[in-house]
């Protein structure tokens, strides 16, 4: 990873329009990357089966923060049932920078969260 790329990721993570929490979200996920202790929570507003709005709170590296912001931007307007079909390849392509094998867990944190792989959803209401 180059410094300019990290700068961009930091901007994505820190200046994300999705930063924060939501009052009474329809879906709430939270968990951590057990390998490094990064914490992430995602709130989604669902209207007529589609993702209408999203927020996230994050304590971790710029890569997982930026990946979450970019991912949320991608899923807004999508059917909630379609989220589990987003492939790892598609998710990594959204990031637009190469991710080394050692950093895959950082980049995949939001996707794994949404797919319920990396950590368990605390509750789901749709």
């Amino acid at each position: 990873m180059k410094i300019d790329q990290l700068k961009k990721l930091q901007e994505y993570a820190q200046l994300s329009p999705y930063a924060g929490t939501m009052k009474k979200p329809d879906i709430h996920w939270e968990g951590e990357n057990p390998l490094c202790g990064d914490m992430l929570s995602i709130d989604l507003r669902v209207v007529k089966g589609k993702v209408a709005d999203a927020r996230f709170e994050h304590r971790g590296c710029a890569l997982s923060g930026a990946a979450t912001s970019i991912f949320l931007d991608h899923i807004i307007g999508k059917q909630i049932t379609a989220l589990s079909r987003i492939t790892l390849e598609k998710h990594l392509a959204l990031l637009g920078i190469p991710v080394s094998p050692g950093r895959l867990n950082c980049a995949l944190l939001p996707l794994r969260g949404i797919r319920g792989e990396g950590f368990k959803p605390l509750y789901i209401r749709t």
């Binding site: 990873m1 180059k2 410094i3 990290l6 700068k7 990721l9 930091q10 390998l35 490094c36 202790g37 990064d38 914490m39 304590r59 971790g60 590296c61 710029a62 890569l63 080394s100 050692g102 950093r103 950082c106």
Partner: protein, 403 residues
């Protein structure tokens, strides 16, 4: 010590000419003599040990026994039979939990650990504690990252059945005063296990002088291959331990009704071991003795002082652990105000500088420090002052550009 000559003796630095390797607490690279020992064993002396009634097998057995004697000598054990070959430090500690503690502790008894332990010196005890309904107590650290000896002393009770403590922290670098702990323990007849993974390749270690009952360490962190390690056991406890794994080589006789077992160390080494790795382990120990453990400690202490000085000049960097190099090994964990340790490691990797980032298998300690992760530099005998200056210069540039 001639670092240029030493570095040339490690082929990895010929393959990767610009590599600045500062992750020696995770594993070390291998000198030519260790690599040669592996291939020579397979080319010249390969056979299974102990059982063959032919010269090649006897030669392989002799090599394996020589390695045991080399390791015993290296750590000041009185007798080679006190050295049990295992896969690594983790297995050594699990062996003690399984073969000693489970048979000598009952519900309500206590194990005393410290909060600075690696997971491998916590989890085996948690498993044993769950099974035998034992209580685990943890001695705390001071603000400067040193073991709080008063707290440790306070937590020794009549129910304490074992004290397990690291010789040197893999996060803070702190060197613990093992002799002081064994003095406390001996008065109360409590065995002491020392996790020597981060110490044995970095300072002179003499288990007899330390007075510990168990000393566990890995080969791969002391320039030997992976898959081999050792557990030293004092004579007092060697005969009180039950077998670890059951199988070939550890038995005296077997009938359909039961079995009788060999004495130590074979009693604890079931199955064919990593013979070639053990042989190379012995060669690595002799290599370190030739360079001199005192020389290595002096060299790494200088590197640590230099790194502490250089790192403290970089704005926004917080260093964890004792501030003086005398009190620590060449392991320095730090955080940057603006950059997550993982991002830092990725950026340094761009310049062929290898550091570690994460919780370093010490989650309880990181929780206590109130941080999810740290970046870590760790040194070895082939680390040069130039390596440290290069890494700190790169770090300074990164921090400056991301301000």
């Amino acid at each position: 010590m001639n670092i240029i000559r030493i570095k040339k003796y490690f082929p990895i630095f010929t393959t990767h000419k610009n590599l600045v390797y500062l992750d020696n607490a995770a594993t070390t690279h291998k000198p030519q003599c260790v690599i040669d020992a592996l291939t020579a064993h397979y080319a010249e002396r390969n056979a299974n040990i102990h059982r063959g009634i032919y010269r090649l097998s006897e030669q392989a057995t002799e090599s394996y026994d020589t390695a045991r004697a080399q390791i015993a000598r290296f750590i000041g054990a009185r007798d080679a039979s006190q050295i049990i070959f295992v896969r690594n430090t983790t297995e050594a500690i699990n062996l003690v939990a399984h073969s000693y503690l489970r048979h000598h502790a009952k519900a309500g008894d206590e194990i005393l650990l410290t909060v600075m332990e690696h997971h491998s010196n916590i989890v085996p005890w948690q498993l044993a504690a769950k099974e035998k309904k034992l209580t685990i107590r943890y001695a705390h650290i001071t603000k400067t990252g040193e073991l709080d000896m008063a707290d440790l002393k306070k937590k020794i009770t009549p129910r304490t059945r074992l004290i397990a403590v690291t010789h040197a922290s893999n996060v803070l670098g702190t060197i613990n005063d093992i002799a002081a702990i064994t003095r406390l323990a001996r008065a109360r007849n409590i065995p002491v296990l020392v996790d020597g993974a981060q110490a044995v390749a970095h300072m002179p270690v003499n288990v007899s002088a330390l007075g510990c009952d168990f000393y566990a360490f890995s080969g791969h962190k002391m320039y030997a291959p992976t898959g081999i390690g050792a557990l030293y056991v004092s004579k007092k406890y060697l005969t009180t331990m039950d077998p670890f794994l059951g199988g070939g080589d550890m038995i005296r006789s077997v009938s359909l009704e039961g079995a009788t077992f060999q004495d130590a160390p074979e009693r604890f080494e079931a199955g064919t071991p990593a013979i070639e790795a053990a042989v190379a382990f012995g060669v690595a120990a002799d290599y370190l003795t030739r360079i001199g453990m005192k020389n290595i400690r002096t060299h790494e202490k200088k590197l640590t002082a230099l790194a502490l000085k250089e790192l403290s000049k970089i704005p926004g960097i917080t260093i964890y652990g004792p501030t003086r190099a005398e009190k620590r090994t060449g392991v320095i964990s730090f955080t940057s105000q603006n950059i997550h340790p993982h991002d830092l490691a990725s950026l340094l990797d761009e310049q062929d500088i290898a550091i570690r980032a994460g919780n370093h298998c010490a989650m309880p300690l990181h929780t206590l420090l109130g941080i999810p992760a740290t970046a870590r530099m760790s040194f070895s005998l082939y680390t040069s002052p130039a390596d440290i200056r290069t890494a700190c210069r790169a770090l300074r540039t990164i921090v400056k550009k991301l301000q």
